[in-house]
Amino acid sequence: MRIIVAEDNDILRKSLSFFLESKGFSVDQFSDGKEALDAIEKENYDLILTDINMPGVSGMEITQHVRENLKSDIPVIILTSSGVEQTELDSFDIGANEFIAKPVSPAVLLVRINKLLKTRI
């Protein structure tokens, strides 16, 4: 299973990637939204994990692009800050499958990822 991780905080991104790789996923990581989007267009990922706030292209814009322009139903998980309001509803409106408030619990993340990948197959 291939997962793309888009998160601009280096420590969090590397930790998430390391964690997911240790659980058997193959992970491509990006700190820039635009680069992540280019990769999504070129490569064949099974799941997108993106921060809501990213330089270049935001997590919301990535999701919107994937749904509207690429017409893909690939599972999208958006990481939000608990402080940001309305995020919950917005991320549903634009077609994200899940939103997870930071700080992200690795165990919760894994459960949600597995759930999304399973319902898809």
Binding site: I11, G83, E85, G95
Partner: protein
């Protein structure tokens, strides 16, 4: 509007009712999909759907056998169903005058059989339909028709539930914001009240030391008692707001448990009424030294014992401490406070730990108090992962007991030779303080101690005096014009290369400030309003070499361990990354804050928060949340400045600790 299809009489209200549910164009939902499946099973049809009809389309919330998410309104059969109050069933469209030439009958979906139930809101508007459709002639039996109506009711119930959930969510947000506003108001007010209280309590102490006749002494004692009581209340409120905002941290240091308990006992013994026996019983197996938060334990016990003494006019108050469990690395201790006082009515026992709650409404008038004490006790106990319980019989007495676990320690208490006032000799002290009242107060106190005092009314003046004269010690106010206490200290340490002891004095008593004082090179910290004995103790401490009390934070790596699965190399990499990135970002944050660059402050605070979370630096993460929030609202306050400062110092400290790992 296209008039080829009928428009319900109440169309405008109907559309408004639909809009209220915010259901259009939402993601698929299991609850609705299940309902659609049920319709298909029960009626044995290949096509079923739940749909909503707005101005110009029929949108499918859930569908089987249709394959599109919406169709134009003018082509749907359901236009007629929403005019009705009951099920509309067309067994054979080919013999139905209205539909036999419909494009969806002759082609399209090839509808031969149609059954539709209007989805009616509780206030009576048909906002959509629940339908069963087949390509063959069909007739539903009574049970099938009833089932469709029941499912339609459930669909509406589901919608109602969703709306209620959203309302609850919105209301919870509003309530949370209100609580936040109240807490920061309380914290600010407490601070504003403490400052003048400092002067009142201080001058009263001084006045009490002068020669007075009996009446005057009586008056002064009344003022002293009132002042102290007011201070206790303000401290209660401040504590509570700190707990609520997550700014109160539990320390973990070795301390002597027996000594602490005896000290509390001696302190409260003076308040005991003549008809009351006050006793302290210690379990013989109780440990001497434990690791935990001594200050918070004292606060809990003083509060509980203070209550017991207050509400007991005759009989006894017994404090007992027992070891109830011992493991390899910890003790579980039970602290009990039992009295023969007024007791608590049965129906109040459950709410006694709630805020502003007291045993009786009249308690406040008879006995005084804010009704905050027990709530603080409960929260402090819970912060230490302990539990607090109460047993009581009205007019017979009460027992409060607290169970807290403390870590074991090998730490041997080293006896620091305490210096008596005379041992210090004749000290020459410099005070940096801008408030004239406080200058006067400190001068009297210091002179009383038998020391000499020079006064500078800001940091610049202080530095000038320091370079001209010889001093033994500096007392430093933190908020001053021209150069504040931190800047002055840094100048003394870094530019003048002086190691003169510096004691901070401040009316702020925020978490993190003490750390910041130590960071900038100060040696001790005295909160205002200061007690003479506390100030003297601080002076003695800094004048006694080798007794630096240095509080260190402990970094919790459990989250990083979970992420890394315990891989030491990866952990090392992340720590290196933190050390490399975060101090730079913290500097950028400070700069952006100085330039009131809201956009960058917001970005930096947001970005760094994840890094704090990974190292479980909850306090620093909280700082960033507040900073981010203020930056988003486009306004910085004194609190933002505080948080930025606390954050910078915290980072400096964390990086130092991480580098040593």
């Amino acid at each position: 509007m296209n008039k080829d299809y009928p428009i319900p009489e109440n169309e405008l209200q109907r559309l408004a009712a639909l809009k209220r549910y915010n259901i259009l164009d939402t993601l698929p939902d299991d609850a609705f999909d299940d309902a659609t499946r049920l319709v298909s099973y029960i009626c044995g049809v290949p096509i079923a759907h739940i749909s909503f009809i707005d101005e110009d389309r029929q949108w499918f919330k859930s569908e089987i056998g249709i394959g599109v998410s919406e169709v134009p309104r003018e082509i749907t059969f359901c236009n007629y169903t929403i005019l009705d109050t009951e099920i509309v069933e067309i067994n054979d469209t080919h013999v139905n005058e209205r539909f036999k030439d419909d494009p969806n009958v002759t082609g399209g979906f090839n509808v031969r059989f149609y059954a539709g139930v209007p989805l009616t809101t509780p206030d009576g508007y048909n906002i959509g339909t629940l339908c069963a459709i087949d390509h063959e002639v069909k007739e539903l039996n009574e049970n099938q028709r009833n089932a469709l109506s029941i499912i339609a009711k459930h669909v509406i119930a589901q919608l109602e539930l969703g709306t209620k959930n959203n309302q609850l969510y919105a209301q919870r947000k509003i309530a949370e914001r209100a609580i936040l506003a109240r807490d920061s108001f309380l914290a600010n007010m407490s601070h504003e009240i403490r400052t003048p209280l400092n002067a009142i309590v201080g001058f009263t102490d001084l006045l009490a030391q002068t020669e007075l006749d009996e009446t005057q002494r009586d008056y002064i004692e009344s003022v002293q008692i009132a002042g102290e009581r007011l201070l206790l209340i303000v401290n209660d409120i401040l504590d509570l707001s700190k707990i609520e905002s997550g700014n109160l941290t539990i320390e973990s240091n070795p301390f002597n448990l027996k000594k602490t308990l005896k000290h509390i006992y001696n302190l409260l013994k003076v308040k005991v009424k003549s008809d009351v026996d006050f006793n302290l019983f210690l379990d013989a197996e109780m440990p001497d030294m434990v690791v935990g938060d001594q200050g918070r334990l004292s606060q809990i016990l003083v509060n509980l014992i203070g209550n017991a003494l207050k509400f007991t006019t005759e009989g006894e108050v017994i404090v007992s401490v027992k070891k109830i469990e011992e493991t390899e690395d910890s003790y579980s201790l039970k602290f009990s406070v039992k009295d023969t006082g007024i007791g608590i009515p049965k129906d109040k026992l459950e709410t006694i730990f709630e805020r502003f709650t007291q045993g009786e409404e009249s308690t406040t008038r008879t006995f005084g108090g804010t009704g905050l004490g027990l709530n603080i006790v409960k929260q402090l106990v819970e912060l230490q992962k302990g539990e607090v319980h109460v047993k009581s019989t009205l007019n017979r007495g009460s027992e409060f007991y607290v169970i807290i676990s403390y870590q074991k320690t090998n730490f041997e208490e080293t006896v620091v030779k305490t210096v008596s006032k005379n041992d210090l000799g004749h000290l020459k002290i410099l005070l940096c303080e801008d408030n004239v009242l406080n200058q006067k107060l400190a001068k009297s106190v210091i002179n009383n101690f038998g020391f000499d005092l020079d006064i500078a009314s800001n940091g610049e003046e202080g530095i000038e005096l320091l370079s001209q004269n010889e001093y033994d010690l500096v007392l430093m106010d933190l908020q001053m014009p021209v150069k504040d206490g931190y800047q002055t200290t840094e100048y003394i340490r870094n530019e003048m290369n002086s190691t003169i002891p510096i004691v901070a004095m401040t009316a702020h008593s925020l978490v993190g400030e003490q750390e910041r004082c130590y960071q900038s090179g100060m040696n001790a910290y005295v909160p205002k309003p200061f007690k003479q004995s506390v100030l003297l103790k601080a002076i003695k401490t800094v004048m006694t070499p080798g007794s630096d009390a240095y509080h260190r934070r402990i970094i919790d790596m459990s989250f990083l361990d979970e992420m890394s699965g315990g891989d030491p190399e990866f952990k090392k990499d992340m720590i290196a990354l933190f050390i490399e990135k975060i101090p730079n970002q913290a500097t950028l944050l400070e700069e952006a804050f100085k330039n009131t660059d809201y956009e960058n402050v917001k970005k930096l605070a947001h970005n760094m928060k994840s890094s704090m979370d990974i190292f479980m630096l909850q306090d620093l993460s909280n700082c960033l949340s507040i900073i981010e929030g203020e930056a988003s609202s486009g306004e910085f306050t004194a609190e933002t400045l505080d948080k930025v400062n606390i954050f910078s110092c915290g980072i400096e400290e964390v990086v130092k600790i991480l580098k040593e790992l």
